[in-house]
Amino acid sequence: MQHPAFEEVTFQHHTDDATFKKKVRNTTILLSVITIVELVIGLLIYNIHKGESPNELLILMFKGMVCILTLAKAYYIVSVFMHLGDEIRNMIMTIVVPLLLFIWFIGAFIWDGNSYKNLRNTYDKHYKESTMPAKHKGAH
């Protein structure tokens, strides 16, 4: 089908109304469900924090789960709502490949922050004592 404004673009008209509405409705429900699951996990983390001796590993696992769920949400927003999934492959790659920089970006900088903390705790005992969270005290 011809694009209404540019003759060099072959316009793919989007699917018929019924299929489209179904897709939008399903995606909306999916995004809402993921958000609710995230909130439930957030409240779980809050309650673990309040406990006598919070299980750090369990908290870390829950936080990792929330991160994965957020990435899933981002994928659905971009591919369905923004229709990136319907574009041709070359175009998708020009957007997605540069974003791969984030893999290094996040890893390197968080590693750096952590390393700074460890060095400071090793060489500045006063800093460590005055900032370490008190053990077996509730967070609230």
Binding site: P4, D17, V24, L39, L43, Y46, T94, I95, I110, P133
Partner: protein
């Protein structure tokens, strides 16, 4: 035989066609959004670096536990989930506006754009309330051996470590008379006791303060305020520009600009921007409120 096979494969790069099968404006909107993703990404990663470099960081469930009209009730995550749903729903109405545009359905575009604008304005209203609540909040902190009452600002963070009661008792002796007056009034906002605190002597004031009710904390990391207000503010500014863009789109639609042009492609570009704002919020929500 061979021709039928080659006909299936469109040759995008031999001229006469747009290689990405996309008009210029939409492609450039995508590249703008990609660069904007790096800007937001850099802010959030910087926040992550500072957070990982600290021994103590405030628990978001303690910081963000208020709800409009609920007074001092402890409701972690409640208000921010309302904000998140408002933005998701306004993203959905934008999808419907873009779809109505594809069908050259002017009435549909107007209807869904109005809903999207309402959603964006509602989100901004929520954010204004949240900021106001944080900045004007009254929290008791122990600093320099005396008690002080501060809100969450760029310069002060009242969500440090909890202070044991014996230290609070000691700090009370050094606390100024004005602060003591404020402290004694904080717990009794109901005013049923009808005690004139101004008439009390310094010693009587000290006795009237219930240390256990104060929840005194140390000052927390200062960077928290800068990052929170900086990043949510930058996102809020994107929402604000998105609302303005959507209002412009609404006016142009109503004036029949797109009808005369024969297509509603501008709505599609505004839609891309609006979805991006929603996408960024998903990550701000993750970094500040959930983990």
């Amino acid at each position: 035989m061979t021709t039928s096979a080659t006909l299936q494969q469109t040759k995008w790069w031999t001229g006469g066609k747009s290689p990405f099968n996309m008009e210029y404006g939409k492609l450039m909107m995508w590249y703008f959004l990609m660069s904007d993703a790096f800007t937001f990404g850099a802010f959030l990663i910087s926040y992550g670096t500072i957070r990982f470099s600290q021994n103590f960081w405030p628990d978001p469930n303690v910081v963000f536990n208020a709800f409009p009209g609920a007074g001092h009730a402890n409701l972690p995550l409640a208000f921010v989930s309302v904000m998140t749903f408002v933005l998701i729903i306004s993203s959905v109405t934008m999808v419907l506006a873009v779809h109505a545009g594809h069908n050259n359905d002017k009435k549909g575009v107007v209807k869904w754009l109005i809903w999207t604008i309402i959603g964006g304005a509602a989100f901004l209203g929520c954010q204004a309330w949240e900021w106001h609540h944080l900045i004007t909040g009254e929290h008791v902190v122990l600093a320099d051996g005396k008690l002080d009452i501060i809100g969450q600002t760029m310069r002060g963070n009242p969500w440090g470590r909890l202070v044991p009661e014996d230290q609070v008792m000691a700090a009370l002796q050094n606390t100024s008379h004005e602060t003591l007056l404020q402290l004694s009034q904080m717990g009794h906002s109901g005013g049923t006791a009808a005690v004139d605190h101004n008439a009390l002597s310094h010693e009587q004031l000290l006795k009237s303060i219930q240390v256990a009710d104060l929840h005194v904390r140390e000052k927390g990391p200062v960077a928290f305020g800068g990052y929170f207000f900086g990043i949510t503010g930058f996102h809020g500014f994107h929402v604000f520009s998105g609302v303005i863009i959507n209002i412009v789109m609404l006016l142009m639609t109503q004036k029949g600009v797109f009808e005369r042009r024969g297509h509603y492609l501008m709505i599609e570009k505004a839609g891309l921007y609006w979805h991006f704002v929603d996408l960024v919020w998903v990550f701000v929500f993750l970094c500040f409120y959930l983990i």
